[in-house]
């Protein structure tokens, strides 16, 4: 059995007895086989167990009062806790703690949908509810709302939103949060926004309440354990239809992006994306060549990465456009059709562009966002041990797209990583969360080869540092790299982190909640 650092066997045993008294003996897990189930199943340290973050034990409460008791017991014995909702944040740590020896507070049993309000389009849920559970609940009770699911569907809307997860349904899942109920490190229960008014019926209706807006403090942080979340919901639309606009002329690219972004900023489009099909065709067939375009791979492997003229010529030679934007309209069929007609008019005003409509999705026939378990296509890939993601945020502009891709490509080139260069030497950007920001999602596969995994971890850190030096930082990070990512937020001698640490020390003096989460360490464990 792994002990929490600094805790004696006697104290740990006594704490386990106290936890069992609080939640019942069946819901305290301390046998090795049971505790290992909380390891990160997609650990980037595969094959190196001594480097993996591992829990000491786990406890599974079913009520808020039990969570309060757990926190109070943990303070008594200085046991570090790490709360998980459904523990399926795969690729970012899953159910693994950020500090070995933490006792996992597994909230999966807190799985009630407490309220779904059809008229006002909101719901209140507990953290153990999964996207799949929620879809089933909506189906069973005829609620015509979309489930803002990522992949895999076993994940938790609460946990996903707290980690700033994204979905094509709502975009910014945390942006849909109107209120939280939180157990604080001293065991007290806090409700944010209008939930702060005793017996208020307004909790779901207005997120700010009065005074500082607090709910952001509990996302990607370790300042409390969230036990309820109020979400605003997205109504099921009648239909959805996407379009793509391409050009063989680079000069058309920025006007194309501006046009799509203006439609997005006006609320006409949902997900938008920007890319360069010819630059991305080093490994995809783009419907034309089975193994990608060899000349494209060669140009990416060249130090200067090729000129605008060379890429345009390569595009023409291979009949693959040099510029692309995509967008999606959603809503009543008449409005979607009118939006797409408007898009046709807008892009007709930009020379040398071609607009193609995608197949419309009729929501009365099917729901494209039903929660599923795809694992980002892992089942179909050579890899066998999962993946993790490098995911920086940048501007939706040609300049930023070219610059960030060039930065990433050169890091891969310098690392001599031909596989990564072939697959991710150039990526398109997706504006899922906000109209003003794009994300690149680079998947690093985990293999049985320990040396290759080490090489990929080093590559990840180099990517974070190289992009950070240019002003691009990540929106989210696997547990192993959260301090590395937080380190990029360095303005004014890391005042952002120092400010959060000041709050942490004030409300969690024993440092029991999730040490190291998002690089936030309690005073007793902080490296000076």
């Amino acid at each position: 059995m792994r002990l929490p650092p600094g805790v004696s066997q006697g104290d740990f045993d006594r704490s386990l007895r106290d936890f069992a008294a609080a939640v019942g003996g069946d819901w305290v897990f301390s046998k090795e086989d049971d505790v290992r189930l909380y390891d990160d199943s997609y650990t980037p340290f595969f094959g190196e167990p001594d480097k993996q973050y591992q829990a000491s034990a786990a406890v599974a409460p079913i009520t808020v009062e039990q969570v309060q008791q757990i926190v109070r017991i943990a303070n008594r014995y200085n046991i570090p806790l790490y709360a998980i909702s459904t523990g399926r944040n795969l690729g970012y740590g899953g159910s693994s703690p950020t500090y070995s020896g933490c006792l996992i507070v597994d909230l999966k049993r807190m799985n009630r949908v407490l309220e779904v309000n059809d008229r006002e389009a909101y719901m209140i849920v507990e953290p153990g509810v999964s996207f799949i559970d929620l879809q089933r609940y909506f189906d069973d009770h005829n609620h015509a709302f979309l489930v803002a699911t990522p992949d895999p569907g076993w994940g938790s809307p609460v946990g996903n939103a707290l980690d700033h997860g994204i979905s094509p349904v709502a975009g910014d899942n945390f942006g849909m949060v109107a209120g939280l109920e939180v157990v604080l490190p001293n065991g007290e229960v806090l409700r944010t926004g209008m939930g702060g008014v005793s017996m208020s019926h307004m909790w779901a209706n207005y997120p700010y309440g009065f005074g500082p807006v607090l709910h952001g403090l509990f996302s990607q942080s370790n300042l409390g354990i969230v036990t309820k979340m109020v979400f605003w919901l997205v109504r099921k639309p009648e239909m959805e239809q996407g379009f793509s606009v391409t050009s063989y002329r680079s000069e058309a690219w920025q006007p194309m992006i501006d046009a799509a972004q203006q439609m997005r900023q006006s609320g006409l489009l949902y997900v938008t994306g920007i890319g360069s099909p010819i630059r991305e065709s080093m490994s995809t067939n783009d419907g034309r060549q089975p193994y990608g375009v060899p000349a494209v791979r060669a140009l990416h492997a060249r130090r200067d990465g090729g000129s605008i003229t060379e890429w345009e010529q390569l595009g023409r030679d291979n009949h693959i456009p040099v510029a692309r934007v995509v967008g999606t309209a959603r809503g009543p069929a008449g409005i979607v059709r009118a939006t797409l007609e408007h898009a046709r008019d807008v892009f007709a005003g930009i020379e040398d562009t071609e607009l193609k409509l995608e197949k419309p999705l009729d929501y009365s026939q099917s729901n494209p966002y039903r929660p599923r378990i795809e694992f980002g296509g892992l089942g179909a890939q050579e890899t066998s041990r999962g993946h993790f993601y490098f995911s920086p945020v940048f501007k939706p502009s040609v300049e930023d797209l070219l610059d960030i891709n060039d930065t990433i490509r050169k890091v891969m080139l310098d690392a001599g990583d031909a596989d990564m260069l072939a697959n991710y030497g150039w990526s398109s950007g997706w504006s899922v969360t906000y109209p003003k920001a794009c994300m690149i999602l680079i998947e690093l596969l985990i293999h049985d080869n320990v040396e290759l995994n080490r090489k990929r971890r080093n590559l990840y850190v180099k990517l974070v540092d190289a992009c950070g030096a240019r002003g691009w930082a990540e929106y989210r990070a696997p547990v192993a790299f959260q301090s590395t990512v937080m380190n990029q937020y360095s303005f004014n001698n890391h005042i952002l982190l120092r400010f959060i640490e000041t709050i942490k020390d004030g409300i969690d003096p024993n440092g029991i909640l999730a040490p190291g989460k998002s690089g936030i360490w309690p005073k007793r464990l902080r490296k000076v």
Binding site: D33, L37, D106, R372, I373, G377, G379, A380, R385
Partner: protein, 114 residues
């Protein structure tokens, strides 16, 4: 997902057609689907292009065994339990708060056709 994943999926969608066809030709299952399978396994181990488990088993066995778990007749209770509690390749293990020991017993017997 992109690149390798997309290419691989494209190349095995045709094979999935065969999976679906063989499923249709099989006699109807004589007993009810295990509720744990329905809740936890079906989203990954039924027929369809997004089914990571089915795709993985299709890759692994390349037609020598059915890619659909419910069509297998060579699964043992012990093997099912081991995979659920330890995971397999990119499939993660399942905790006892998700699938209890009693539910796992029933699931394993269902897939082992006992």
């Amino acid at each position: 997902m992109r690149c390798n994943g997309l290419a691989a999926i494209a190349s095995i969608v045709a094979l999935l057609g065969n999976v679906a066809a063989s499923a249709q030709q099989s006699p109807a299952a004589p007993r009810a689907v295990d509720p744990t399978f329905e809740q936890w396994c079906s989203h990954c181990h039924r027929s369809g292009i997004y089914m990571a488990g089915t795709l993985g088993l299709l890759r692994k066995y390349n037609g020598s065994k059915p890619a659909l778990l419910e069509e297998r007749d060579d699964l043992s209770v012990a093997a099912v339990k081991a995979v659920v509690r330890h995971g397999s390749n990119s499939m993660p293990p399942f905790r006892k708060t998700e699938i209890s020991d009693a539910q796992l017993d029933a699931l394993a017997r269902y897939l082992a056709k006992q």
